[in-house]
Structure formats: structure tokens, C-alpha cells
Symmetry: C2
Subunit: 156 residues, 2 copies
């Protein structure tokens, strides 16, 4: 059993108020432009000059890039549901500030609610708020997610 | 003035009930695995064998990949706010069905509400529901987004 397996969490391990914090990851200009070229080809995500004239006032990452990077940070963190981070959906996703080239991001995930399933004995839902911060401690993104989590199997 | 510029839309051009439909884009296995490797490295997005044993029952795209692809489809569609598709946030994002290798996706965006800003004379918000469908016409993702849209400049 690896350390990672040992650390996996079941529904019973979660409680409202728990906070999981990720490591940091820096996003650079080339990454911002590459993601935008593939998924969100709008001038303020692709071109510095156009971005300066836009509402962003400078090159900014696509919000979906910030969301995807936040997922990566979460997957690599100590938040480790036993069968993976299985989002059934998100309530409220807010892009609060532009993400700029050179920003160093991390996420904090707070458990808001833990609910065993009424119909399925082996699982439940947890509700989490995942906030993405930059190197100045400013919130750049926030969402509330609903995740499917397995209950701990009965001892055999 | 290009056709694309000519087609740009201002707040005054939107009305509840309008529907914009995108072209289709096919997602393949290599794309699913590449995105997951970068942003959502969990076994059911990376490895077919592991995916078969998971709740997905087979390789499935990361939900954030579906969201990013849906953005690309929307950007390339006839839905063209004059200053870009500027999301301030999303209310409700639901992943309704797995997206599989070979799926051909398109989006439909319905305008739900148009609200001029009370404090800023040159802009407003529109609320849209963007639904992503697969080649069988099944909904794979749905979100309700709030977008900042410019008002049409007064004739000079």
C-alpha cells in the first residue's frame, strides 16, 4: 500500500469546517496563450496589445483555464476521496480577479456539508467551497462543488 | 469591416428566448488523456482499464475539459457579444453524462434574461443557459452563465 492509498478518504472522514490547502503552481504567458488558443480564442487571452485595450487591461487567463488549473491543484493536494474527485456539479462559480502571467496560484477547499445518500448505502455527497488564491492572497476564483464520495466499506 | 465584426452584438440585440447553436467538434481519446494529464490526472480520465472499473464504466473526459471545449464551441458560434464573451460567473454547472472518446459535441446557448446595468450606462448583464449535447442529442453538460455585454454606442 502506498502512502497515497493509505491517505484516501471516505465519507466518514469528512466533516464541515475541514480545510485542505494545495501547493502552489505558477502560470506563465505561454500557458495562458496556449490554453486560450485551444479553448477560448478571444483577444484578451491571446494577445498582450489587444488585452491592454480590453476590460482586463492586460493579458488574462481564460476563466476555464483557472478552473482547470484549480482542479489540478486540488487533485495533487491532500484532499483525496477514495474513488477520486467526482464532481456531479457546481453551484456558483465566480471569477473574482484576472489571473496574470507569472501568478502563483493555490487552492483551499473547505468542506461545507456531508450528506449520506438516502437511496444508496455505499455513498454520499459532500459540498465543498474551493477558492483559488494568487501570490498576494487575493481570491481569483471561487466555486461551490458537489462531490460523490464512497462510504468506508464495512470491515470484512 | 469583416463579416465577423459586422456580426457583433450589443446588449440591445439580445432578448430572452434567443437560441444560438454552434458547429460540432469531435473529441478523441488522445485529447481526453492529454487534457487529463495536464489538469485532472485521475485514473478514469487517463487509463481505459482503470476507467472500466470506475463509476464511469469507461474512459471519460474531465468535466473541466467538457467545459473548456464548450467554451471553444461557443466562441466559434454566431453568439458574438461586441467585446467578447466575458463571463463574470456561472450559476449551476452540471455534468449530466460522461463524454466519451469519439463523441461529437455542440452547444446551444439560450438567452434567459437581459439586464441593463443600473450604475454603468455603457453595459449590462445577460444570463444565458449553455447546454452541451453529444451526437445522440443527449445533454452532457449544462450551465447558466452571467455575461457582461456592452450597450450599443450612441450614433456619433
Amino acid at each position: 500500500m502506498t502512502d497515497r492509498e493509505r491517505a484516501r478518504q471516505y465519507l466518514e472522514d469528512y466533516a464541515a469546517g475541514q480545510i485542505y490547502r494545495s501547493a502552489r503552481m505558477t502560470i506563465d504567458k505561454d500557458q495562458i496563450i496556449a490554453f486560450a488558443g485551444q479553448f477560448d480564442p478571444q483577444p484578451y487571452h491571446l494577445d498582450e496589445e489587444a488585452a491592454h485595450k480590453s476590460v482586463f487591461g492586460g493579458l488574462a487567463a481564460s476563466g476555464w483555464h483557472t478552473a482547470a488549473l484549480s482542479m489540478r491543484l486540488l487533485v495533487d493536494s491532500e484532499f483525496r476521496p477514495a474513488h477520486g474527485i467526482l464532481g456531479v456539479g457546481v453551484d456558483e462559480l465566480r471569477w473574482l480577479r484576472p489571473v496574470r502571467p507569472g501568478d502563483s496560484l493555490y487552492v483551499e477547499t473547505e468542506v461545507l456539508e456531508v450528506r449520506p445518500s438516502k437511496s444508496e448505502a455505499d455513498r454520499g455527497l459532500i459540498r465543498v467551497r474551493t477558492t483559488t488564491f494568487n501570490q498576494s492572497g487575493e481570491q481569483v476564483q471561487m466555486y461551490v462543488g458537489n462531490l460523490l464520495v464512497s462510504r468506508r466499506p464495512a470491515a470484512g
